[in-house]
């Protein structure tokens, strides 16, 4: 009950944040975003066509009127249709967001799980050779441009110049129409092609993200290791493994969980433009990028609103998780 009240309270306090984010993004798009008129009208528009389209796109309406219409869209979660393609924005996001999520999820889980494992190991062996190797590799992963990693991994794993194990580009298509195909065969089809297409993007994303995560998590864990209770526990003869996992990791989970939870909205909705572009994945990253560069305001509004809303929810979940990890935490603090 207390948790629910806390969550509702936080939600209410977040409404100004949502307004602020949507206002700023709307302002930027209206006054600094591209004018879609000249993209839509093509080679040879007449002045009359330009005027007609300006009116249709609402460009001639006052800013506040357009903003209030936008607020109405937020409240009803109805962002209309894409100006470029005419497709319903909800339909576009329903198709592309799950794809981006499915691409990002394995990398998210692996980079965080492996990051924690490596950070624990490195912190436990801090100052020694293995710690230094891990930190150098982490720094290396952070230093290399993600674009270069994507291109290199694509060449190494996907092309005939390298191992040629995985497809270069694409996404899972519906299975062929075999009337006698069993549910297991269809499940296997999706499982097989999902991992075919996701393997290399995951490897590339993990390669880069793992470095950042490992270094951050290690720093947090080392800080815990320097605390008095750890020295006391060792003095009492508690095993190192128990100290690391039951005590240190648990105490370090607050900053670790903050970092992990705050990245969740970007896993769900932001997509990864570089990965989607190079691996031919029809995700929301590319949709959003195209919408911004083309001035397709309905899509941009929807993505900004959903990202802001998910971020607020993530912040609330972070606070709830704090309480779970450390029951001493009070919602009133």
């Amino acid at each position: 009950m207390e948790t629910l009240q806390f969550a509702l309270r936080k939600l209410l306090y977040s409404i100004p944040l949502l307004f602020g984010v949507t206002f700023i993004s709307f302002f930027l798009m209206v006054y600094h975003g591209p004018d879609l008129t000249y993209s839509i009208l093509g080679k040879n528009p007449t002045p009359e066509q330009i005027t007609e389209l300006h009116a249709q796109l609402g460009y001639d309406q006052p800013f506040l009127k357009r903003y209030f219409l936008f607020l109405k869209e937020i409240i009803t979660f109805d962002f209309g249709s894409s100006i470029s393609s005419g497709e319903d924005v909800s339909s576009i996001l329903k198709k592309s967001v799950p794809i981006s999520f499915m691409v990002a999820l394995p990398a998210f889980i692996l980079s965080n799980a492996l990051g924690i494992i490596l950070a624990l190991y490195a912190a436990n062996h801090r100052g020694k050779r293995n710690d230094k190797i891990i930190m150098v590799l982490a720094a290396g992963g952070m230093s290399v441009s993600f674009l270069m990693v994507v291109i290199a991994f694509q060449i190494i794993f996907c092309t005939s110049y390298g191992l040629n194990w995985f497809p270069v580009q694409g996404w899972v298509s519906p299975p062929p129409d075999y009337p006698d195909a069993s549910a297991i065969e269809i499940f296997y089809y999706y499982w097989y092609y999902y991992w075919s297409y996701v393997a290399v993007p995951t490897l590339a994303s993990v390669f880069v993200a793992l470095g950042y995560n490992t270094r951050f998590f290690r720093a947090v864990i080392v800080e815990e290791l320097n605390k008095d209770y750890v020295r006391t526990a060792r003095a009492y003869g508690v095993s190192n493994r128990k100290i690391m996992i039951k005590h240190v990791l648990k105490n370090a989970m607050i900053p670790i969980s903050t970092r992990i939870i705050i990245t969740i909205p970007f896993v769900i909705i932001a997509g990864n433009l570089v990965v989607e572009k190079f691996f031919g994945i029809p995700g929301v990253g590319l949709v959003t990028y195209d919408a911004i560069t083309n001035g397709d305001l309905p899509i941009v509004k929807a993505v900004v609103t959903w990202t802001a809303a998910l971020y607020v929810i993530a912040l609330i979940i972070t606070d709830v998780v704090y309480k779970t990890i450390d029951p001493r935490t009070s919602y009133n603090q």
Partner: protein
Amino acid sequence: MFFRTISLVACLASVALLTCCKRPFSDRTQNLSVFRFSENGAPVTMDPVQSATQYANLMTTSIYDQLYEYKYLARPYQLKPRLAVALPKVSEDGLTYTIQIKKAILYADDECFPGGQGREVVAGDFVYSMQRLFDPNARSQGEWLWQGKIKGLDEWKKAGADYSKPIEGLQALDDHTIQIILNKPFPQLTYTFAMGFSSVTPREAVKYYGKEFGLNPVGSGPYKLKSFSTKKAVLVRNENYREEIFDLEEEGYDPETQSWAGLERLHGKKLPIMDTTEVYFMKESMTRWNSLNKGTEIHFGGIPTELTHMVAEELNPLVLKPDYAKKFTAMNLPELGIVYLYLNMSDPKIGHHSDPEQNRRNLLLRKAISAAYDWPQRNRRYYNGIATLFPGTIPPGLDGYDNAFTADMTEPDFEKAKAYLKEGGWNADNLPVLDFNGVASVQNTQMFEQFRGWMEKIGYPREKIPYVPFATFGDFNKKVKQRDCTLIGMAWGLDYPDAENVLQLFYGPNSSPGSNSSNFNNPKYNKLFEESIVMQPGSERTEIYRKLNQIIIDDVPAVCGLSRNSPFIWHKNVVFLPSRNPHGSLFKYALVFDDSDDQ
């Protein structure tokens, strides 16, 4: 211990993964009748009235029928009937066109039709499709082609675009007869009916799908759309497509120049040859190359400019290195188009000026820029040295091109350029600031630096030629249409193989926001152009075209010109002769075979 556990788990997972590596449905008969094509961009919509880009045009001409199309193999390009029975009957005064369309042509089955079954295409559908081009709600990009041309159509739009109101110059006399009455002769009219814009559309689909019609095309063409995303479109055979058999001779086959392509295999085959065509939209050239080179993904694509010397022994003619020649067939694909640099003639710093003396000086400044423009170097650096260079605006092969022109005429002459500047009284102090505009990209920045280098050679201070990049093409186009740009790098792909299509780029009344982005307005040019556009092809018209071209060369509203030529390759087991504009989709002719087909 901890690490041992992790290692064991990882090994088990890998083994599990490896043992499950069998391809799904590998024990079933596979449908191999798939042609995988790639493009370097994606369409946003497949609504014919918005098919201005080559990507959208590719899709609409695969799914919809037009009245006419170009013969697959004939060069120069020749029209042939597609939905029409024959070329139009034209009245003596050139104003009335009567076109019969084929009977029993069916649309693909779709839920927009009663019972889901595609109905017959009728002449009224063509009338409706042309009306949509003038409907403000349809946001047509193709209206300009027929503006002022068809009697009553512009008035119909002004009167509110009511589809129930008849149009005097656009009628369906019966279910299979179309009549078009023009305001004045328009010899290029038949060409326009081969463009994606003029695709024949059923009104049921437009009504049923509403705003999403662009993503749910319903046509009578060889393919129908199975699925679409910004990365891939899947086209499947339209089961209602008419019986159409490929005939080599009828398509204009020339064994002397085309025997290398293996096109004889296509003779006698029913169209479309392949059941499925998958179109991959890949902007990243390296991804496209890697996918093509893999051997099991796309069948057709271009060689990235940065890799041409790794793949090709020679570029002109295109000869692949042995390792690649074993896997691929290749050709250089010439573009029917032109790359040029517009000079904004409405900017008094460089263009038209009310003061005759300043006008003279501005002309000399433009001539200096033109003389210093090193087209051969541009060609070597950015187009592999295989682009076609020519002076003026009419590409080779078109009526009006002067065969006395040679590529040498595009060589730079920096001394001559300096002489022009001196004659015009220009020096480093009084030369105007000329902003160079373009969409922000690495290549455009490099092209700008190259251009500025040429200008520096003739004494133009580098700080007087700033680069003004734009984040998107829309932003850039807006500024061009508002006449805010001075130097504008542009390209134009011809809509049809007639020089009128490039000459109209300099016709005064077409000034911005129209296609005349140089805002050139020369009364003599305008008068000659107006004379020529109502003339049928012939020596008289050719002579006028040449005069118009010479005015462009003399007055320099643009620095011309280059036609791109791009190397393309496809797998050895594919029979496909690529072509771009003015051809639309050629998917129906593509064949992917395996060696057992020869037995």
